[in-house]
Symmetry: C2
Subunit: 314 residues, 2 copies
């Protein structure tokens, strides 16, 4: 019996202030068989909404095309403004293999989604991640340079400059951005990001800043971690906010224990750990294992694991 394939996607839509608009866009992916809308996180400051979806490959592609179509229809990039870099109404569509599927297959899926968006809606497409046609374009930050306004102008002013167009023009399109919709970045890659806020029992952001610096790779901390300090919505306390890019090599409990130790130096304790967005259960199971020291543990001892396996067999 063939096991079902699952792909995870975390598309970003450039609307986050007008809840009616966000709802109308996100509504487009509800109720598609084989696709599950996990959640969405509208952000007014950023004027954008990250969406979390999982699904079987083909239904998920259908959902993502529908989502982008609604975003192109309801968002006008000439009016959209926010604190977060973006180049299009449907700004990014990253795809990640989740279960029973390899990166190559997800790469093909991403390519087909990009093609369909261009053919159906005429919105230019950049490919990033493993779909990128150059090393530079693997990074979304490179593609996004200048953002919608700057990139649009750059391309318009350089239509007779092949070198510039080669470097910066969309992979699918006529060398320009769409006036209303900008462009969309489609990518496949391994999902290796776990986003975590460790909230401290202090309102002093300076302490969180010092700890964030100790923890993050570039300043001598864990090589797989990027960290900043901030005060999360709904809290008065400061937090060390981390993107953890490899929780196999650098597990969550290890980082939390380090932060606990460093915070204690400042007379501060850890209030708690806030997981952002979605992540694999094993991130927390690994923590339970560390503190309990599980012996001879096997995944099939978990009832839920067996339910999932049973479903996949059917």
């Amino acid at each position: 019996m063939a096991s079902k394939q699952y792909v995870h996607s975390a598309p970003n839509v450039s609307a986050g202030r007008d809840r009616a608009v966000v709802d109308a866009i996100v509504e487009s992916v509800r109720g598609i068989p084989g696709v599950r809308l996990i959640d969405c996180y509208p952000d007014a400051d950023f004027d954008r909404t990250p969406v979390e979806l999982i699904g079987e490959p083909e239904p998920l592609a259908k959902a993502l095309v529908a989502l982008a179509g609604r975003a192109y229809e309801l968002i006008d990039m000439r009016k959209q403004k926010g604190k977060h870099p973006r180049i299009g109404a449907q700004d990014t569509i990253p795809l990640f293999p989740l279960r029973n599927i390899g990166l190559d297959e997800v790469k093909d899926l991403a390519f087909r989604i990009g093609q369909e968006l261009w053919e159906k809606y005429g919105v230019p497409i950049y490919f990033a991640g493993v779909n990128a046609r150059s090393e530079e374009r693997r990074e979304i930050s490179f593609i996004r340079q200048g953002q919608y306004e700057g990139l649009k102008k750059l391309l318009e002013e350089n239509q007779d400059n092949p070198a510039l167009l080669e470097a910066r023009a969309p992979d699918l399109g006529k060398g320009l951005l769409s006036e209303k919709s900008g462009a969309t970045i489609v990518s496949a890659g391994e999902r290796n990001l776990v986003a975590v806020n460790v909230i401290l029992n202090t309102t002093d952001l300076e302490i969180a800043k010092k700890i964030a610096k100790m923890v993050r790779g570039p300043s001598g901390g864990f090589s797989t971690i990027r960290a900043v300090a901030f005060t999360p919505d709904g809290y008065e306390e400061a937090a060390v906010s981390m993107n953890m890019f490899d929780t196999d090599s650098t597990p969550l409990y290890r980082v939390v224990e380090l932060i606990r130790s460093e915070a204690a130096y400042f007379g501060v304790s850890v209030k708690g750990v806030q997981m952002s967005g979605v992540f694999p259960t094993k991130v927390l199971l690994r923590c339970a294992d560390h503190y309990l020291h599980l012996l001879d543990f096997q995944e099939h001892q978990l009832l839920e694991h067996n339910m999932l396996m049973l479903e996949e067999e059917m």
Copy 2:
């Protein structure tokens, strides 16, 4: 869309020494669509094999009837001997609601399984758990008194004693046990058992005995816990072996931390925690939560949870 229903069953087969016999019996539940054989644990000393299965109600009933049929065929209770109490070849068939199903429905399922076993194979049936026809019969230990040999003899000698038959004869049958197959106990109930061994860094079984006594309800410990000391297979160290009957009220981490503290008094540390059989993921997630102190955590942040929900929707 209706969500799929899952039932968990942990039948006990009275064979554990002859691996070929065990394999032949367990083989009968493999490959039935809608049923997953999680594992089985043949025990030569006990001469019995606990089996763990999950499945949708009707396919699972079919599998359990097939399993019992094979056990009746291949096991002769006149020859079977082991350290564990038993009254039949297919000794027990306990059923537990697992997901999207209530205890009432599982009770009906258990009743139908018992009826089918009696009608198809002529093996007498006792109903226990919520299916029991008297308070006493809820407990398997009451039904099993005298075991196969003693109970068989008791019933044979009391065929003209209605009071004795009322108290001890099977619920389905002619007031006697089957010569070859004994009887089968079928029951439905809430699964509330998590079996755990906490292994100590000592070979001194006396220390484990003292700690087991401190931990268990009857001698002043946690009311939801039964505990004994033993040395697990494959280990030289002593362990506190627990049946935890309510890990919501008495979570695993709390008991492990108590054992850690009590063991330290004897200069002994905890080597690790060995989970026996299957259990819900939340048992370990609750431990991760305790040590990390998760804030604002929601189950739908777990990718696997979403895959399961998606499957159920289809």
